[in-house]
Symmetry: C2
Subunit: 467 residues, 2 copies
């Protein structure tokens, strides 16, 4: 486990707030140990730091009241979506109140003509897409987990479709936010673009609950494409797969998904998802568009594959086959863990300019071998973003130390390549030292903003930048 | 003329700084009246408020030194690109130093493999595209004017291509910024996406020089499409043209440009650019992609045109014809002024959800008639963004008052439609009251950020939010 420092607790304030919330929210406020621990849990090996209580607001006014109560007594407020974050984002190092937004899960308005939707933060992306399907619309961002839209906005999530549709920063039109003093503000109206003042929408997206609590999100939608096709192909090396990816991007191919799995990952999903993919570096692709355009895209990519010496290009013949491939990709995280039962997986998350991707992946594989670590690699390579799932025996202190060393080494490597220590998971607690390395002087400005927007440091303290 | 309030001047500080800059920058520091007035000038009717001196830094270190000198004496610093902004952005209401970045005009690195480029702020978009052409690359954002990239980033510019390629917020990867105390910070590395901390890139984009001076910009590039085709078609009403636009967007047609000109605008460009377009509401379009894709897009749009009763769909037969059409569109601002010689044009800039566009444009035309104003309309309608060029006899106080009334009425209408008072021109001095109306409580947070990042209010004071 990675132990992060506990911060000083305001015991008197916490005690007072627990009493007020109990009285005000009744059954919608819980302090049982198991519920509290669930709310400190993230899909991570960072040690659990449970909040003192969990409250389930029903609307924005509830959230505003909760924040006002906590602000009056200087008690931390930690927003919680579905708990699928990876860097200790929902931990409570100074105690305080977890604000579980899962019951604020209404889809407030679908504006089909404007291709946008207004949702509460607890709506999950799967629920949203189920709701939209009959309208011929979809929300493209897919981080793998069935995360909440609020959590996805708060961590600037992305995933497999980002190469074509962008990340949350590109797909959030505007937000309703409760600020540190309980004020409710809107960051933007529904216009598709705006030059009206500071871009608070983008400042809030990725702020991980440290600058305000997101209570409503207006999202851009896409029409479901006329045609969707998927394909896979194998490559003699990770380098060749990365070359093919780079050529596709340079060519301007509007590929909707282009995912790399290394040999170890392919082996894992073959076993877990009962597939028989060749055990070579693999690209999984998806093309969206008109029938003609999708066919043309596939043909173009096939030519690229041949040019770099790839083989076994195969289009998914049926929707079922396509879904099976992508389900396997989505399950890769779980599949990887079966490679070495009894271990815990810890996902790295670097993103580099695509010209450096092959070098970064290849160097990572060599470093893993050197450190005698098992770490299958999968990546959203069209964006230069990849994950190593380190499979670590948590009882082996030396191995944990080597995994830590690898994580730090990889972050340094990515930064030295003009890349980032996190493409999509965020900083949370786990990546704070790397953020300093990556952006140095900019973290001074980040701290100044944090202090200005949260003068008593009650909003998810101990994350992103320490103040 | 619109007179904006002059702010208190720090005469002692200004006097001191003038002396220091003269000594430090020699010929690169100018205080002649005509140069100073040029640097207060914008394409606007807001009254000129000239700075006390104009300095021409040669590199980031110069900018940092200038800011340090001004910070030490609490003297305003106003960044200047090409002076094509429209809302008094470069005015100096409290005096101070205009930092003319036009001599920082080097293209520092083209990363063709990564589809990005690193430029200094004084590079103009036309110079950039000329430089990129041989590499088969282009930078898509086109606000009409040959603006500087720094200015475009600072005002979150967009223009005709935004419907497909987004605005500056979508196309700036990272920035180098000199902050209020002269510190040089980078907001992001070159990775295509990142979740590393607060999105300072997007906070700076559109901050109009009020939070820092942009000294370097990393931009996303596009490959020049294999095929580009343009088309035009006429409609019986603005409403029908907007319907066609909305249908194209809903259909997911990846149109690169879709521009509306109303009857008055068509008449103006017919005269100015010697064209013979039918004097009806007109859409100008451009399609980018492969040969097959472009043909398919055009065919799809043609079907939409027929469905809404449009006529005279005509593809530009040659590159020359295409360029002529787009040159005419670019010259529309000048063409419009010839409709009523001796007047000054004043461009409004609202942006509304596309479902409200037809209603907003039609209501604007009715209001113009009611107020006896002449205001041709042209718009980036794929984004729901349009401009009315009010042609105002500046000697007629009553007419000026009616133009003012129209501008306020239109901003209110757009806001009531869940839109914005500015799609792309920015707030500057001219739109400050509308920003308050539009985002209310959010402006409190904007002020807090401004104070945190610029505690002595020296960075382009009196713009966006008053502090």
């Amino acid at each position: 486990m990675v132990h992060t420092t506990a911060l000083p607790r305001n015991e008197t304030g916490i005690e007072t707030v627990l009493g007020i919330l109990k009285q005000r929210f009744g059954e919608k406020f819980q302090t049982g140990q198991s519920i509290r621990e669930q709310h400190g849990h993230t899909t991570t090996w960072i040690v659990n730091q449970a909040p003192d209580g969990v409250v389930y607001p029903q609307d924005t006014d509830d959230v505003s009241q909760i924040v006002r109560i906590c602000a009056a007594h200087k008690v931390p407020v930690i927003p919680f979506g579905t708990g699928t974050s990876l860097e200790g984002h929902v931990n409570a190092p100074a105690g305080g109140i977890s604000v579980d937004l899962s019951e604020m899960n209404r889809i407030l308005a679908v504006h089909a003509e404007d291709l946008d939707v207004v949702v509460q933060p607890g709506v999950t992306r799967e629920d949203l897409n189920t709701h939209l399907r009959d309208r011929g619309l979809f929300f493209p961002i897919d981080p793998g987990a069935n995360a909440s839209i609020g959590g996805m906005a708060a961590t600037r999530a992305s995933g497999t479709n980002a190469v074509r549709y962008g990340t949350m920063k590109d797909n959030v039109i505007g937000l309703e936010v409760v600020t540190a003093d309980g004020t409710v503000m809107r960051t933007a109206n529904r216009a598709k673009k705006s030059s009206a003042g500071y871009d608070l929408t983008r400042l809030m997206v990725g702020s991980e609950g440290t600058l305000g609590l997101i209570t409503e999100i207006t999202l851009r939608l896409q029409g479901i494409p006329e045609a969707i096709s998927a394909a896979r192909c194998s490559f003699p090396s990770v380098d060749a797969a990365c070359q093919a990816t780079m050529m596709a991007i340079q060519y301007g191919l509007p590929v909707a998904r282009i995912e790399l799995l290394d040999v170890l990952s392919v082996r894992a999903i073959n076993t877990y998802s009962k597939l028989d993919l060749p055990e070579e570096p693999l690209l999984l692709l998806e093309f969206h568009g008109s029938e003609a355009s999708v066919a043309e895209q596939a043909e173009t990519f096939r030519a690229i594959v041949e040019e770099v010496g790839g083989s076994g290009y195969r289009a998914a013949a049926t929707t079922e086959e396509r879904n099976r491939l992508w389900q396997a990709r989505h399950d890769a995280y779980w599949a990887m863990q079966t490679l070495r039962p009894g271990t815990q997986a810890f996902a790295t998350d670097v993103c580099v300019p695509i010209s450096r991707l092959a070098e970064c992946v290849t160097a990572s594989q060599a470093k893993l071998a050197e450190l005698e670590l098992i770490g299958p690699i999968a990546g959203h390579v069209g964006d230069g973003n990849f994950h190593t799932a380190l499979l670590v025996d948590m009882d082996d202190a030396q191995e944990r130390a080597r995994a830590d060393a690898f994580t730090g080494w990889l972050a340094d490597l990515a930064i030295s390549m003009d890349g980032t220590c996190t493409g999509e998971h965020g900083i949370g607690q786990g990546k704070m030292p790397y953020l300093e390395k990556e952006l140095g002087p900019a973290t001074v400005t980040m701290r100044a903003i944090k202090r200005a927007m949260d003068p008593h440091n009650i909003l998810n303290p101990g994350k992103i930048v320490a103040v």
